[in-house]
């Protein structure tokens, strides 16, 4: 058993490395965590992610800007690459598969990339289609990967309307898949009106929302299976 003192020290190192966008530091701290026998999931969530949460606060207070955010994300990924292979499947409770992209005609992808990073840290399998993604691609990719969740990002009111087409098409082809939308011009009302299953105004809310949606989905599946067995 690793002692509390040591654990705290390593978690703090992971956190600091992310905040100080120190990729090497994150790698070293991640290795140290594994050597010391720290639970990888704990190292990720109470170390790296908690660092990223602090970065989010610095961003909101306008102490950090997008470049800092991107560099902190790189540090987080550096640590994550080392810890993730050691994580047991059960660590997070749920395993989600997500398809994400910015819709056709829209190259604004800074926000989408931040949302994607949150999914990566949560241990989801993420298929990132990039930006300016032809609308059919979302539908095809969902069917190909059987993803639980499709995430659409748009930053313009002209491209945003493409989301509705994707939602309609996916609902038609695979009614089980969940869809979440976001981006500056998108709102709760629009999400509801267009039949999306979820909306979030920023990256951390996107993750919370995604976990809720995927858990609900898994529960439905399990209930259905349990029912099938008992009958």
């Amino acid at each position: 058993m690793i002692d509390e003192e040591k654990k705290k020290e390593i978690l703090e190192k992971l956190k600091r490395a992310v905040i100080n966008y120190d990729e090497d530091g994150a790698r070293d701290a991640a290795k140290e965590a594994l050597e010391a026998g720290l639970d990888p999931a704990e190292a990720i969530f109470n170390g790296l992610v908690s660092g990223m949460e602090e970065v989010g606060r610095l961003f909101e207070r306008q102490e950090y800007f997008v470049p800092e955010l991107l560099m902190c994300a790189d540090a987080l990924y550096a640590g994550l690459d080392i810890l993730k292979p050691h994580m047991k499947k059960l660590d997070l409770g749920i395993k989600g598969t997500v398809v994400i992209g910015t819709v056709e005609g829209d190259v604004h992808d800074i926000g989408k990339n931040i949302v994607k990073m949150m999914f990566d840290v949560a241990g989801f399998t993420v298929y990132d289609l990039g930006r300016d993604v032809p609308l059919d691609r979302f539908v095809e990719e969902q069917l190909r990967t059987d993803a639980d969740l499709v995430c659409l990002s748009a930053m313009m009111t002209t491209t945003m309307v493409g989301m509705k087409k994707v939602i309609d098409e996916i609902k038609k082809r695979n009614p089980k898949a969940k869809i979440m939308i976001g981006g500056a011009p998108v709102s709760h009302d629009i999400a509801e009106k267009w039949g999306a299953d979820g909306y979030a105004k920023d990256a951390s809310n996107a993750l919370k929302e995604a976990i809720n949606m995927i858990s609900a989905l898994k529960k439905l599946k399990e209930d259905a299976e349990a029912k099938a067995v008992s009958e």
Binding site: F65, L70, D74, E104, V107, I110, M156, T158, T159
Partner: protein, 346 residues
Amino acid sequence: MSTISPKERVLNLFQKKEVDRIPCFSGMGNVTEYALKKMGHRFADIHLDAKKMAEASASTYELFGFECAVLPFDLCIEAEALGCEINVYAHSEGILYPTIKKKLINSEQEMEITIPDDLKKKGRIPLLVEAIKIAKNRVGNEVAIGSYVLGPFTLAGQVMDLNELLKLSFKKPDKVSLLLDLLADAIIMVAEELIDAGLDYLTVREMGATSDVLSPRVFKNLIQKPLIKVISRITIPSVLHICGKTNQIVQFMIETGATAISVDQKNDLAESRKTLGKDALIFGNLDPYNILVQGTTEKVREAVRKCIDDGASAIWPGCDIWPTIPPENFHAMMEEIKNYKGGDRS
């Protein structure tokens, strides 16, 4: 009665001469779906044909009395001339703005680019020059003809991956500085060619450097110098446009030497007016989507009055006029500016 033409009004404003009322115009794209339908063009058609581009640029004056003709409608002109591939979504019936399909710089090692000597002959620059001449022939006696170039940083974000650029602006500012300086040269070449075609004013769009993305400190240290380089070479009235949060950088924007600055609805205009004093030319602040597209005519009128009261030097949308603007809102904007006598401007 005033006999001054919209063109004189705009030119007088730039020269800080007396005007009968503030003008209503823009330095960015302003074609409407309404006009496209009337002309029988799709949005995708007006980027690749000089005649159609010119016709579209004159349409907001001809249909609504908007006091300018501005072309082109996309942000890819310089990047394309430098060797990027673009996508105009030729198949699309709707409004999809052209984007860069293939970047020029794919790694940090490729950042020391050479600017071709004959840049002005490349891509759509000759087409744009021709379109400017056609527009000038068509409405150039009545309204000011405008065009725009990108700012060096925003252009850098078009020719290379923006995320990489943003990180490098922090990790390797010298390298980025060098690229911005090279791109400034390219932009100057393009600007000179467009000015020669007969422009009345030129806007520099540097929205990639908004305070939503970059800190005011990085703006001052990295972005301002190449902007000054470009603007110092613009021989006609110039407007520096940055959207998003800008209150903390309006001072730096004015310091570039631009004749006027342009901001969007996220800027607290009254505050900027206070910071910059009564003589500075500040355009913008009118919300092109939530007000001009989504708002009622009454909301549009209110917003126009508020811009005037807050000290706008012109009624000028915070970004491109959004093509889906309802015609009645456009008319309301134009009418209100003529009717509203408030806003003590002395």
